[in-house]
Amino acid sequence: QALSWARAPAACLNFNCMLILLPVCRNLLSILRGTIQCCSRTAARQLDRNITFHKLVAYMIAFHTAVHILAHLFNFEWFMDAQLDRNSSQLPFVLSQIGDGDNASYLNPIRTNNTNPTIVLFTTIAGLTGVAITLALILIITSSMEVIRRSYFEVFWYTHHLFVVFFIGLVFHGFGRIVRGQTAASLKAHNPLKCAARFETWGTNGTDCPEPEFAGNPPMTWKWVVGPMILYVCERLVRLYRYQQKVVITKVVMHPSKTLELRMKRKGFSMEVGQYVFIQCPAVSHLEWHPFTLTSAPEDDHFSTVRGVRRGQNGDAGRLETTQVVVLVGAGIGVTPFASILKSVWYKHTQSNQKLFTKKIYFYWLCPETQAFEWFADLLQSLEGQMTEKGISDFLSYNIYLTRWKENEVCLFVCLFVCGSVLWRLLGTTQNLQAQNVWPKAPWYQSGRVPVWPDGAGEGLGEAVSVPL
C-alpha cells in the first residue's frame, strides 16, 4: 500500500518540477506579456507575480518530496520484511522469490535477504539519485530562507544552482526501473484477482495461474521536464547575450538628499511607462541585479532611474491612456513610476498629433518628508509652470501630504521651494497637519468609473484606497 503513497506524490512532483522552471524565464515572460497585453491586461498583470508562483510551486515540491520519502521508508521496510520472513506460506515472500532465476522478471527490488535497506539505498540508481536530489533540495531550501536571501545573496544564488543537480538526478531517478509492474502478456495469462488467493499453486501442473512476470516501468519524468529545461537553457543564453550589450551612462545627476539619477542610453531600447530595469554594479557585486523603476518617459531620448528600489510593483500603467479621469496615489518611494507616467502624459498632451483620452489627473502624494523626493518636486514644479503657460493649469491637480512634519524644518522647506503653487499647496495642507497632527482625509472624486492606481508602501495602500460612491 505504501507504494501508491509514494507514486502519487511522484506524479505531482513530475508536474511541479515542470512548472517551477517556467516563472523564472524572465525574458520569455516579457515576450509573453507583450503578446497577451493586447488581449487581456489582467492576464498580463499576473505575470508580474512570477516569483510568488515560483515559491508556491517550490513549497509544493518540498511537501511532495517529504510524503514521497516517508512512503518509501515504509516501502523499503516492508520489501525487506518480505525477504527476511522466509515463510513459503506468506504471499509477500512467494512474490519476492519470483525472478530469482533470470533476475529480470522479479517484483521485489530487494533481491536478497543478505542486505539492509540502507545498503539498498546506496546501491540502486533510484536510491543514489534520490539521496543526491533530496540533499540538493534541502540545501536550496535552507539557503532560500528570507534571512539568508536578503543578507547573503551570493549564498542564495550559488546554492540555488544546485537545481541543475536536482533536475539531472530527477531525470535519472527512474532509469533503474525499480518500480515494477506485471507485464501485459503475463496479465493475460495470470489474473491477479483470481490467482492471488492460490499463490501456493502458481506454476504447478494443471493450474490456470502460471507464475506472473514483472518488468520495470519505463522512466516518465523526462517527458515532463525536458521542455521547460530547454526553455530555461534558452533563457540563460538570452540573458548572457543581453548582459553583453553596451549601455552608456550619459549623465549622472546628484539630486538633494543623496538621491542619484542615472541617465543612460542603449541602442534599440524601448519602454512603457511604469516599467523597471535590472541594474548591476560590478564594483559592488558581480552577481546581483536589482530592479529600479524607470523615471523617464518613453518619449525621452534617454532612460533614467533614481536611486531607490520598489517592492510591490504595479505595472499596469499602460491602461492610463484609455481613461478620462485618473487618480494616482503615491506613498513614499512609490512615487517613482509616476515620474515616468506624468512625463509621458505631458509629452502626449503637448504633441497635438497624439490623441490623449485622459482629461484630468488627480495626483495624491503621501510621504514622511519631501527631502528625499525633491527631484520629484522639481518635476512637479516644471510641469506646473508649463501648464500655466499653456493655460491648462487644471489638467493636473496634485495634493501632497506630509506625515512626519517637524517644526524646525519649516524654514528649510521655505528655502528649498522658491516659488510656485507647490509651496502654497504644501503650506496649506501642512498647516492643517500641524493643528491636528493626524493623517488628513483626502477628498476623493468620483466621475463615472475612476480607475485608481495606488503605489508604494506595500500592499496596504491598495486596500486602504477606495473611491466612495
Partner: protein, 187 residues
Amino acid sequence: MGKIEWAMWANEQALAAGLILLTGGIVGVAGSFRGWQYAAYAIAAGTFVCLLEYPRGKRNKGTSVERTGQYCFTVCVKSFGPVTRNYYVRALLHAAICVPGGFMLATVLGCVCLGIASLIYLGAAIRGEQWEPILPRTDTRKEVANSIKQPPQNPPPRPPAEMRRKRAEDLEGAAYVNPINVIANEE
C-alpha cells in the same frame, strides 16, 4: 552584499536537519522498523538539535531577525557559556550526534543534513564567528524635552501664511493691513 556570516546558514541547515532527524525517528518508532532503537535515539537527538539551534545568534553587521518566541531559548543556550558560544564545539557536537543516524534508513537523511551543517559551522568557526545572544535592548530612551507639548487645537491668531511671507518679487502681496490701527509718531 558584504561579508557572509556562514553561521546564519549553518543555523538554518542545522535546524532543518534536526527536524528531519526528528521526523525520521518518529516514523521509525511508529512503524516499528528494524533498528527502531536508532530511531528512538534520533527523536532525542533531533529534539536536542532543534532546541539548540532555534535561537538565532546576533549578527556582526546588520539587523538580527529573531525567530518567534526565541527569547527563552536564548536564555537557556546562553547559560552554557563558552560551550554554546564557540562554533568549533558546535561543529564537533553535530558531527558526533549525526553518526548514529547513519545506521538506519529512516534517519540517514537527517544524519547527512546534520553532517553538512557541521561542516558549515566548521567554516564559520575558522572565520572566527561566535554565537552572540540577541537580547532585548535595555538602553533608556532619551527624555522627551519639555518643549514638546500637545499640539494646539487651534492655530494661533495671526494672519495666514501668504500674507506673512515677504517675497522680493511681489512687494504688493507682501504688504498686509495691520488689524490694529497704527498711529504715526507725530514728530
